[in-house]
Chain length 393, copies 2
C-alpha cells in the first residue's frame, strides 16, 4: 500500500486558510438522494437554492449535479434567482451578479455533502492552491457508515479539481471528511476525538500519527481535540456542528444550560477541553456560547413517509432527534449564512453571530429541510480559498 507520508513533502509551504479568510468560491451539490431528502428533495432543494443565492452575492458558487439532474438544478437556481430579485429589490448586488456567480457543473455523487466529499483546499504564499482529496467512506465505511456505496462521493474531490484545473493532492488511504476539521489559518486545527478516533475511519493510525498527518497535509502545528460533538450526530460528531472559529483563538461553541438536555454534558466536556488547551501560537481560546435550539428538532411521522431508503442505508425513525445546531453556519465573503429552525433561540443565534462578524451580514435561512438530510449549511458547502500572494504576514 502507498505510504502517504512519503509524498507529503509536495505540500511544503501550503496551509489551510480559515473559513473567515477571503474565498474565491464555494462548492455545493444538488440534493436528490431518496434516503436523505424526503419527497424527492423538493423542500431541501429550495433551501439549497436559497443558500446558493446568498453565497453567490459575494463569491462564486459551483453547484454539482449528475447528468439526470443538471437541468433540474439549473432551472431551480434560475427560479430562485428570479424570486430573490423580486423580494430583495435593489439590495446592492444585482440579480445578474448572483446569476453569473452560480455555475452548475456535471459531476455525479452519492449525496449532497460538499463539505465532506469536496476537496479541502490549501494555499501557499506564492499564490498556489492545491485541493486535498481525502478518502471518503460515508462516515464510517463498513463499520458504521450511513450508506452502502460511496464510490461516486469518493471521486468528487478529484473530479472537481480536474474540471476546474486545480492541482490535487491524493491523501488516500487516509479517511477524513471536511466537516471534521476547522482551521484557524494560523497553525491550529480543531477536531473531535469521537470522529477522528472512530473505528470506521483510520483504526490503524495512532492519535500521534493522525496529528502528524493532519499537520503535514494542512500546514498546521497543533491539533486541538474536543472529546465529542452534538448529541445524536450521525457523522460520529463532526466538529463543524459543535464548534467553529470566528477569529484566531476565538470560537463559538454549541451550548445549553439546560441539564435536561443530553447535550449539556457534551458541551461542558468540550468547554473544559478548550479551557485546558492552547492554540498553535500558545493563546487561550475565547469561547462564545451559542445556544442550541430551545426545543429539540425531531423527525416527524410525515417526514418519515417521504424518505426512500435503500438496502444497507441508515434509516430514520419518527421522534428521532436531529443534530440541530446554529454552529453549522457558512462564512461567505460578505455574509454568514446561519441555519434557523423556527425555534425560540433562532434570533439569539443571529444576534450573537452578528456581534462576532461585524463586517458581514448575517443571513438566516430556514434549515429544517436541510437538517432532515442529516447535516446543515456548513455541511452542504465547501469554501475555495482565494489564492494568496505573500505580503508582510
Amino acid at each position: 500500500m502507498r505510504n502517504l507520508m512519503d509524498d507529503i513533502s509536495l505540500l511544503e509551504g501550503y496551509y489551510m486558510p480559515a473559513e473567515f479568510e477571503p474565498h474565491e468560491g464555494c462548492i455545493m451539490i444538488w440534493p436528490v438522494r431518496p434516503g436523505s431528502w424526503p419527497y424527492g428533495g423538493r423542500a431541501a432543494q429550495k433551501a439549497f437554492c436559497e443558500v446558493a443565492c446568498i453565497i453567490a452575492e459575494s463569491e462564486q458558487v459551483y453547484l454539482l449535479a449528475d447528468r439526470a439532474h443538471l437541468e433540474e438544478a439549473r432551472a431551480a437556481i434560475e427560479k430562485a434567482v428570479t424570486v430573490k430579485s423580486k423580494i430583495s429589490g435593489a439590495e446592492g448586488e444585482t440579480t445578474e451578479d448572483v446569476r453569473n456567480n452560480i455555475t452548475v457543473l456535471e459531476i455525479e455523487s452519492d449525496d449532497a455533502w460538499a463539505r465532506d466529499v469536496g476537496p479541502t483546499f490549501v494555499v501557499n504564499r506564492q499564490g498556489d492552491r492545491i485541493g486535498i482529496n481525502w478518502t471518503f467512506n460515508a462516515w464510517g465505511g463498513n463499520v458504521d457508515g450511513l450508506y452502502p456505496h460511496w464510490d461516486k462521493d469518493d471521486k468528487v474531490a478529484s473530479r472537481f479539481c480536474k474540471r476546474l484545473g486545480e492541482k490535487e493532492f491524493d491523501a488516500h488511504p487516509f479517511v477524513l471528511e471536511g466537516g471534521s476539521i476547522h482551521s484557524d489559518g494560523e497553525g491550529t486545527i480543531l477536531t473531535t476525538e469521537a470522529c477522528l478516533l472512530s473505528r470506521g475511519r483510520n483504526p490503524d493510525w495512532s492519535r500521534t500519527q493522525i496529528e502528524e498527518m493532519l499537520c503535514a497535509v494542512l500546514g498546521a502545528e497543533k491539533i486541538v481535540w474536543l472529546p465529542c460533538g452534538i448529541y445524536n450526530d450521525e457523522t460520529n460528531e463532526h466538529v463543524d456542528n459543535i464548534c467553529a472559529f470566528t477569529a484566531p483563538a476565538e470560537v463559538v461553541l454549541a451550548w445549553t444550560d439546560d441539564p435536561e438536555d443530553p447535550q449539556y454534558a457534551m458541551s461542558r466536556a468540550c468547554l473544559e477541553a478548550l479551557e485546558r488547551q492552547r492554540d498553535a501560537k500558545g493563546r487561550s481560546f475565547i469561547v462564545h456560547k451559542l445556544p442550541v435550539p430551545e426545543k429539540p428538532v425531531l423527525i416527524r411521522e410525515e417526514d418519515l413517509k417521504g424518505y426512500e431508503f435503500e438496502e444497507g442505508e441508515d434509516m430514520r425513525e419518527a421522534g428521532e432527534r436531529l443534530a440541530a445546531s446554529y454552529v453549522n453556519f457558512y462564512i461567505a465573503n460578505g455574509s454568514v449564512v446561519v441555519p434557523q429552525f423556527g425555534d425560540e433561540n433562532d434570533k439569539a443565534a443571529v444576534k450573537i453571530l452578528g456581534k462576532l462578524f461585524p463586517d458581514r451580514s448575517i443571513r438566516p435561512v430556514m434549515a429544517r429541510d436541510i437538517l432532515l438530510g442529516g447535516g446543515n449549511i456548513h455541511c452542504i458547502t465547501q469554501q475555495i480559498p482565494s489564492k494568496k500572494v505573500k505580503r508582510g504576514k
Copy 2:
C-alpha cells in the same frame, strides 16, 4: 525502545479469567494519601477494612502498606475483625478464618488503587498464572494525570509478584489500568474509547494496535468498545464504573431514565454500542440496567477541608459531582461487595444484583468515603484468579 510485541509469545495459551470465576485472593492497598483521603483517611480506612473483611470471608486478602503504615493497617484490620465478629455473631464463617485470610504486606505505593496499579493476572489450562505489569502513569501522565509522581505505584505490580513468587510479564511501555478492562473469560474484553484512546496513555498506538496488544496479552479475540463511562469520572471514564460482566454475554450498565442527568446521553450511547456489537463467540449482549444514584453525590465543604493536596495534584472543589455508580462492585468467591451512597436507589441496586448473582450473598457497604478518593470498591480491589487445570472446557 523495547518492542513489547516481540515478547508476547511468552503469553501463548494464557487468558484473563472473568471476575466471576474462582479467585485465590484479592489485592488491596491501605489508603493514606492526603490529597485523596480527607482527614488522614480515617473514614476511608474504616470502609476499606469493611470491604477487606467481607472479601476475606471467602478468599485471601493481601493488604499492601508502606513501612510507616504497616502497624496502623494491621491494628485497623484487627479492630475491624473484632467488631465484625461482635456484630455478625455466628454467621457461618468464623472470625478466625477472616483474620487468617488477611495478610498485611509491606509494599509502598503512591495511593490505594489496587485495581489500577496491581497486576492483571492471566492463567493457562496447565495451572500456570502470570501477573501482567502494565505501565501506570496516574491516569494520563503529564497530559491529564491526577498526581505528579507515580513511580511507586508503577512498581506495585512487579513488587507484589516478586513478593508472592508469582510469574510476571512486563508490559511496559504500554500504559493501562486494570479498571479500564473487563474480561468475560471467554475471549471478550470490554473497554471504553474515552479511556483507552485518551491522549495521556498510548497516543502512538493505533486503535487496531491496541486491540491486537490487548488480545495477545489477555488471550482474547474481541475487544468490545463502549464510547464513554460515568460523567465526571476522572480516570477518563474507566469501564469498571459503567459496565461489568455478570456472566458471559451478560452485563450490567449504569443507567438513568432522567434526562436531567448528564449521565443520560452517556449511558444511552453505551447501550447503543452494546446493542450494535457481538462478543468473541458471536453472541449479543443481554444488558441489565443498574440505576445510578437518584441524587448526585457531591463534594461538600466539610469534605474539602480534610484534603491536603500537593503541588501538581488534581484538586477537588465543593459541589463537584463524584462519579458514583453501583457498577463499581467487587465479585468475591462468596459475595458481591456493592457500594451504597445513602441514596434512594441503594436498595434497588442490591436487589438487581441479587437476582444476577443468585449463588453469592450481596453485601452492601457504605462507600461515600471510598468515593471521596475518586473510585469505589472495584477500584480498590484486584482479584487473583485461581490456577486452573485443564478440564473438559
